[in-house]
């Protein structure tokens, strides 16, 4: 646990040296300590990696164990027998295969939701960047306000409104809020400024192409990498959301994976059902594995999105 503190500390200690860098005294101050050697730096990074991988290792190992082994054997070692296939069978057949249903729901909430959210964000961000219209900056500050209102602070207001219009405990109650991503609009404006040169639009306008057509046929393909980034951001956001589905849904058939795992986990504890605990563990692994795969495959995109905000 404390490993998180460890890596930075030793490198930091010798920091307070003489204050202004004395000009002209070349090469005088170059005496790297042991920690600043290749081995030292790599060792520190390895230590931090150990901390990040430890819990994932536990998850992987635990998913292969039988229920007895899960509670009876060391968490960082293999159990007495490999039970992975039985566990998977159990996971997908439990409660009439409700897990698969949750996965499907999550794909709809997060996949379709983020896709639409990204389309709407790019359209709005492009309009903010490239088109002239009255009240632009005032509208944009509304978007920034949206960035600042925390998503979970909206959960109860959304629930109250949904109760009023009859959307509580429906698919739409969770799906619709996912379509709005103010930070995506901000990112799209940055991307549009970076990727779409004004001259290209001038040329298209000269040729008499309509504004909407220009956006669809010329600008959108140029922003496409940014589109993927925005999609990924919102996808993880929705996939991660827990408070909103928790308050909005009571029908198990509408749950996203997150909420289902939580219910298994808490029923394992509150009603003393260890088999539900195993379900929560295996279900976690099964839902995390594809996410990790997606992240590994789409590295380029999430990196460019995360850094777009940073470099600006």
């Amino acid at each position: 646990m404390t490993t998180s503190v460890r890596p930075p500390a030793p490198a930091r200690v010798p920091a307070p040296g003489p204050v202004p860098p004395p000009r002209g005294r070349r090469r005088a101050a170059r005496r790297p300590s042991a920690l600043l050697s290749k081995t030292g730096v790599t060792a520190l990074l390895a230590l931090a990696t150990f901390y990040t991988l430890l819990p994932l290792t536990w998850l992987l190992l635990s998913s292969t164990k039988s229920r007895q082994d899960l509670f009876g054997t060391n968490g960082f070692a293999l159990g007495d027998e490999i039970h992975l296939t039985q566990n998977l069978q159990y996971l997908f057949s439990a409660q009439d295969g409700v897990y698969l249903r949750w996965v499907l729901n999550t794909v709809l909430y997060a996949g379709v939701g983020a896709l639409l959210a990204a389309v709407f964000s790019v359209a709005a961000g492009y309009a903010f960047d490239k088109l002239a219209f009255p009240g632009k900056e005032r509208l944009f500050s509304l978007v920034l306000l949206g960035v600042m209102v925390p998503a979970t602070a909206l959960a109860i207001p959304l629930y109250l409104l949904a109760a009023k219009v009859g959307l509580v405990n429906t698919f739409w109650g969770v799906f619709l809020p996912g379509l709005v991503f103010p930070f995506g609009v901000y990112l799209a404006r940055v991307f549009s400024a970076a990727y779409v040169p004004d001259e290209v639009l001038e040329a298209a306008r000269m040729d008499g192409a309509g504004e909407f057509r220009t956006f669809r046929r010329i600008a959108f393909p140029m922003i496409a990498p940014g589109f993927v980034t925005i999609f990924l951001f919102q996808f993880t956001q929705i996939w991660n959301s827990f408070f909103l589905p928790l308050v909005m849904l009571s029908d198990q058939d509408l749950y996203p994976v997150n909420l289902g795992l939580y219910v298994w986990y808490s029923s394992a504890l509150s009603q003393g059902r260890p088999e539900d605990y195993l379900l929560a563990v295996v279900g976690s692994l099964v839902s995390v594995a594809p996410l990790i795969a997606v992240f590994l495959m789409l590295q380029r995109f999430w990196k460019s999105g995360m850094t777009a905000g940073a470099v600006k």
């Binding site: 646990m1 890596p7 010798p14 860098p21 004395p22 002209g24 090469r27 101050a29 790297p32 600043l36 050697s37 290749k38 790599t42 520190l44 990074l45 931090a48 990696t49 990040t52 991988l53 819990p55 994932l56 536990w58 060391n74 968490g75 964000s121 359209a123 709005a124 903010f128 088109l131 219209f133 978007v143 600042m148 209102v149 925390p150 979970t152 602070a153 909206l154 109860i156 959304l158 109250l160 409104l161 619709l176 379509l179 306008r205 993880t236 991660n240 408070f243 997150n258 795992l261 563990v281 976690s284 839902s287 995390v288 996410l291 990790i292 992240f295 990196k303 850094t307 940073a310 470099v311």
Partner: protein, 298 residues
């Protein structure tokens, strides 16, 4: 000619903006306004609840009740304590790791970058489930390990709950911010670094006096998002709550709101408390932006 093009742009802008703003109005502005309206009423259920609920105008009453409630205020103290542990550890750790990666001394850079980022691909709820298992006495191999080393730690006790929650967040977010900082470091112009070298600055000096100030905007932005995220603290303590009696059902402001709404059916109070949290987050992030902006302009 010019006027038709302006009109064309306006029409296109309206078309491109309307899906976002239509939905934004429906799922952000209207809920906020509706919650603001509801927060001005209290619901009185008559008898067994069959007589129907009755709404009575209460003015600021719900806000006063929320602010006067020690449970609500303590929630903010918990978040403050959590921030005091989490933000320096996480931002400091991410910075240190990014500087190490950028030092030119690290081997297998892209492997480390990926491995350290990996926790971010794990949803917060699952991260919390895993860690709570690792916190549970009798199950946790970590506790066994510490005990064999003569250290008895109870992660789920009331005293350690803040630390245990912060650790989950550190695990989830350090690598993410490290990637951001690392990218910002790579954008530092070569000439600046060469100049520092010529001036005789060692690797550590360069990192602290040249590189760090140059990525200040990236750090400020990361702190801003971390602060907004911290106020929303809910998932991790909610999972800890189901495993330990050490923390109450209103441990953080968001947990307070949920308890008010669904345990006490006090929707007026829940709405008022929600809006107070949103307001607090907005004010705080505004302040952070202001401070960091002033700081970056010498």
């Amino acid at each position: 000619m010019a006027s038709t093009s302006t009109r064309g742009q306006r029409r296109a802008a309206a078309l491109l903006l309307s899906p976002f703003f239509g939905l934004f109005t429906a799922v952000t502005l209207v809920p906020l306004l509706y919650a603001a309206w509801l927060s001005l009423f209290t619901t009185r259920t008559s008898g067994l609840g069959f007589g129907g609920a009755e709404n009575a105008f209460a003015g600021w009453d719900n806000y006063v009740r929320a602010l006067a409630d020690p449970a609500f205020r303590d929630g903010f103290l918990v978040v403050a304590a959590y921030c005091a542990i989490y933000i320096p550890l996480m931002i400091g750790g991410a910075l240190a790791l990014a500087l190490l990666l950028d030092s030119g001394l690290a081997k297998a850079r892209s492997f480390f970058q990926l491995a350290l980022f990996l926790p971010h691909a794990v949803p917060g709820l699952i991260a919390a489930l895993i860690w709570v298992y690792l916190y549970t006495p009798g199950l946790s191999p970590v506790i066994d390990l510490l005990e064999s080393g003569g250290l008895a730690v109870s992660f789920l006790s009331a005293d350690n709950a803040v630390f245990s929650t912060a650790n989950i967040a550190v695990w989830e977010w350090t690598g993410y911010n490290m990637v951001i900082f690392y990218a910002a470091l790579q954008a530092v112009p070569r000439e600046t670094l060469d100049a520092a070298k010529v001036d005789g600055a060692g690797a550590l000096r360069t990192a602290l006096s040249v590189k760090l100030p140059m990525i200040r905007p990236a750090v400020a932005l990361a702190v801003l998002f971390t602060v907004i995220g911290s106020i929303q603290l809910f998932t991790e303590p909610k999972v800890i709550y189901s495993a330990s009696t050490a923390i109450g059902s209103s441990w953080t402001p968001n947990m307070y709101v949920q308890t008010a709404a669904f345990q006490d059916n006090d929707f007026g109070l829940a709405a008022a408390a929600s809006l107070l949290i949103a307001l607090f987050a907005a004010v705080l992030s505004f302040a952070v932006t202001r401070i960091s902006r002033r700081g970056s302009k010498p």
